[in-house]
């Protein structure tokens, strides 16, 4: 493995992982909106030309402006944001992914550049170009946006199912891993659905459109919701290839995870139901507030899906290789013998706060091994979780942490570290009483 060690960014008030989640969910939502938006624009271009539909053409430009203002700007900014936040919160996992997949990321960047070029050209010149050129720009935009998804999806799905990479170390075996295809299909369908909802909202926002105009656009946009019908196939496929314990998390073994999974499914069914209704009745089901609500549901569905994707990997960030706290699986043995000191040379930020050498070292053990998922006394606070335990229980339970709760990594410190973290927890308890 041989990953360098980085200092931990920990906060006593909140879980740093939530920062990643907030930026990542927003980014995924916007990026998928951009991918679906490209498909929608290409589809509408083709439809407008085939049927001589001036309304669709007029709508296209307004829709694309929204796409540019929302997803080009915030999508790009949150994309950089994920990078910066991950480098801060999970530097080791990030480094592992970059070291293995930097050329894949490079390829993704190339398509990102092409996407921006086609997108801006369409945005600036779309109105004055003839159909053929406009269509090619739209098609180039949607293809390159989807290709970005293609590349990134390989890296994201790798984290849960590294597949053949574990044995061979081959980048391609890791990229085309077992969950690559189901997640790619799932994300593509979700993107199209987001774009259809976005288009409905934009159409309803345009005041100069009358009832029948909006109806016409929504009916066309709803076509993009249809692939959602295939989502269950992607979901079942996905569940079939994920590791056994991950599957158990979403099928009852872990209550929040199961709930989020069920919510994502429920929201998707609701959105698909709306689509079917819209197509059958040939008119939008809701007025603007209803559509906004639908978009909020879609955002929640995206959030829940990403939450589940991140959650069912626990205790790993890269399954079977790297734990959530940045400790590599193969390092645990050595750390149990030689202690945290052999890994982490960084001093404490505020040593004067801790009374004894033991408590100080306990704080360092906590920082290294636990702070990615627990604060001392606030979110998922250790003081509260261990309130009823005496010293002996603390020692014996923490020693076999991974057996206590399967989504925790094993305790990776020596006997002294164990004593010290117990001393730290008892000291903390006194302070909060």
């Amino acid at each position: 493995m041989d990953l360098p060690h980085f200092p931990v960014f920990a906060s006593d008030a909140f879980l740093p992982g939530l920062l990643i989640a907030a930026v990542a969910i927003t980014h995924v939502f916007l990026a998928q909106f951009a991918v679906g938006g490209g498909i929608l624009v290409t589809f509408f271009e083709w439809r407008a030309e085939k049927k001589g539909h001036t309304l669709l053409r007029d709508f296209l430009h307004r829709f694309f402006t929204t796409l540019v203002l929302v997803s080009f700007v915030l999508g790009a900014v949150t994309g950089v944001g994920i990078w910066l936040v991950t480098a801060l919160v999970s530097p080791r996992p990030l480094l592992l992914l970059v070291r293995e997949f930097h050329w894949i990321w490079g390829a993704e960047w190339c398509f990102f550049c092409l996407e921006v070029a086609c997108g801006y050209a369409y945005y600036v010149h779309g109105r004055t170009l003839g159909f053929q050129k406009r269509f090619w720009l739209a098609a180039g935009y949607s293809f390159s946006a989807w290709m970005s998804l293609f590349w990134v999806n390989g890296i994201l799905s790798f984290q849960l199912t590294p597949g053949g990479w574990l044995e061979t170390g081959s980048v391609w075996a890791g990229f085309f891993n077992p969950s690559f295809w189901p997640t790619l299909f799932g994300r593509t369908f979700a993107s199209m659905a987001l774009a259809a909802i976005g288009a409905t909202m934009v159409a309803q926002l345009i005041r100069s459109y009358d009832e029948s105009d909006t109806r016409e656009i929504v009916r066309n946009a709803a076509t993009l919701l249809l692939p959602l019908a295939l989502m269950p196939v992607a979901a079942v496929w996905f569940l079939a290839v994920v590791p056994e314990e991950s599957r158990r998390y979403v099928t009852g073994a872990n209550v929040p995870m199961t709930m989020f999974f069920a919510l994502a499914a429920l929201f998707s069914v609701l959105i698909a139901g709306t689509a079917i209704f819209t197509l059958l009745k040939r008119r939008p089901l809701f007025h603007l507030p209803g559509t906004v609500l639908l978009a909020a549901l879609a955002f929640c569905a995206t959030g829940a899906t990403e939450f589940v994707r991140e959650g069912i990997r626990k205790p790993y960030v890269v399954h079977g290789v790297l734990y959530s706290n940045g400790i590599a699986v193969e390092e645990v043995r050595r750390l149990r013998r030689r202690g945290i000191d052999s890994l982490d040379p960084w001093p404490l930020r505020d040593p004067e706060k801790y009374p004894t050498r033991t408590v100080r070292n306990g704080r360092r053990v906590y920082r290294e091994l636990c702070s990615s998922c627990h604060t001392p006394a606030k979110m998922n606070g250790l003081v509260h979780l261990t309130a009823a335990w005496d010293r002996q229980m603390l020692e014996s339970n923490i020693k076999k942490l991974h057996l206590l709760k399967t989504f925790m990594p094993p305790f990776a410190g020596d006997d002294e570290d164990l004593e010290d973290i117990v001393a730290y927890l008892i000291w903390l308890r006194k302070g909060t009483e």
Partner: protein, 357 residues
């Protein structure tokens, strides 16, 4: 040139090249924001023309610069993982916080592009332009600080315990001043090329073009000479001092190019661009050499990640994607060049007019 870099490998080369592209592109909105503030204070028809020209391209250039900026981040992570990530942990929330001014700058760039903004009174436009400039400069300042923290390995542990951000900010200001001056020159060069397109599309008469160029060139020569003098002064405390004459010559070519352009003889614009490009590259290389020396001295150079990364497959996917996408971008540019488009759309065409209707 190679003698400048002891181990110029593929990753380092890609890092430097993509970083150069990022900085060159960023110089347009950054320098443009400086010029826009100046142009709100001075009056004149050519000033108005220039103001409109820069405003119209501000948002696009921020977008392109951010897009280009993703790649150097990627390669930096391979080349200097410790310097980059340790700086992040030391700076804590400061580095991700740059997203806030970046978002503000981006939307203000879109605002400055709109027709309705152009009709605002100057007294209201100036504060918006100043905020846009400050936001971009804040982003740049955070990056300068991040780099300095990352390269001083000997101070990592101390700074992790006791950051002293205020001092770092003060120290970064003079550097940011140099960056702003350089960006102003970069923006001028960008404008020289855009003005040609403006005339071709019939938006500027030859006379207007001449006046606009003259204003820009005078300013650029003034700034460039100042910058060259400052470089000479700063040279004294550079830890590395190799091939300084290349930088000098590049700056000379650039300034001469501006002068030639001012007198309408020969290809001044191309010379100025070339000189500026070479100067930027030399500065980047010199900074990289300095960083290596700092890191080696402070015991923070980490070559292991790079060695492992070199053994990984996927290069063909990158090259294939690069060729495909570069071809695509060239085709798009050709298509756009041939289009006799009106002005780029104002976003309020779509959104604001709707509300007015």
């Amino acid at each position: 040139m190679i003698s400048l870099l002891p181990e110029l490998d593929l990753y380092l080369a890609l890092y430097l090249i993509t970083l150069m592209a990022h900085l060159a592109l960023m110089s347009f909105p950054l320098g443009g924001s400086v010029l826009l503030c100046l142009f709100e204070i001075f009056r004149g028809e050519e000033i108005t023309n220039l103001r409109n020209l820069i405003s119209r391209h501000l948002a696009l250039s921020v977008g392109l610069a951010i897009t280009a900026g993703v790649a150097p981040l990627l390669f930096l992570e391979v080349v200097h993982p410790k310097a980059f990530s340790n700086a992040g942990a030391i700076l804590g929330g400061w580095r991700p916080a740059l997203l806030i001014p970046l978002t503000i700058a981006f939307y203000l760039a879109y605002l400055q592009k709109t027709e309705s903004f152009r009709r605002w009174p100057g007294i209201l436009r100036l504060p918006i332009r100043l905020i846009g400039l400050a936001a971009l400069a804040a982003v740049g300042t955070v990056w300068i600080i991040s780099r300095r923290v990352g390269e001083h390995a000997e101070l990592w542990h101390d700074r992790y315990v006791n950051l002293q951000m205020e001092q770092l900010i003060w120290e970064a200001f003079p550097l940011m001043g140099l960056v702003l001056a350089a960006a102003t020159i970069g923006c001028t060069i960008g404008c020289l090329w855009l003005i040609g397109g403006e005339q071709r599309r019939g938006r500027l008469s030859p006379g207007e073009r001449f006046l606009a160029e003259e204003t820009l060139l005078r300013l650029a020569i003034f700034v460039a000479v100042g910058l060259a003098v400052v470089c000479e002064i700063l040279r004294k405390d550079r830890p590395v001092d190799i091939d300084w004459w290349i930088l000098r010559s590049a700056l000379f070519v650039m300034i001469a190019g501006f002068g030639v352009r001012l007198h309408r003889i020969g290809p001044g614009r191309a010379f100025a661009t070339l000189g500026a490009g070479v100067a930027l590259f030399i500065v980047l290389v010199m900074r990289e050499i300095a960083r290596r020396e700092f890191l080696v001295e402070g015991g923070g150079l980490d070559m292991q990640t790079l060695e492992v990364a070199k053994t990984r497959e996927g290069f063909s996917a990158f090259v294939g994607s690069f060729i495909f996408c570069a071809t695509g971008i060239v085709l798009v540019l050709k298509l756009v060049r041939r289009t006799q488009s009106p002005l780029p759309p104002d976003d309020d065409d779509v959104v604001v007019e709707e509300k007015r209707a």
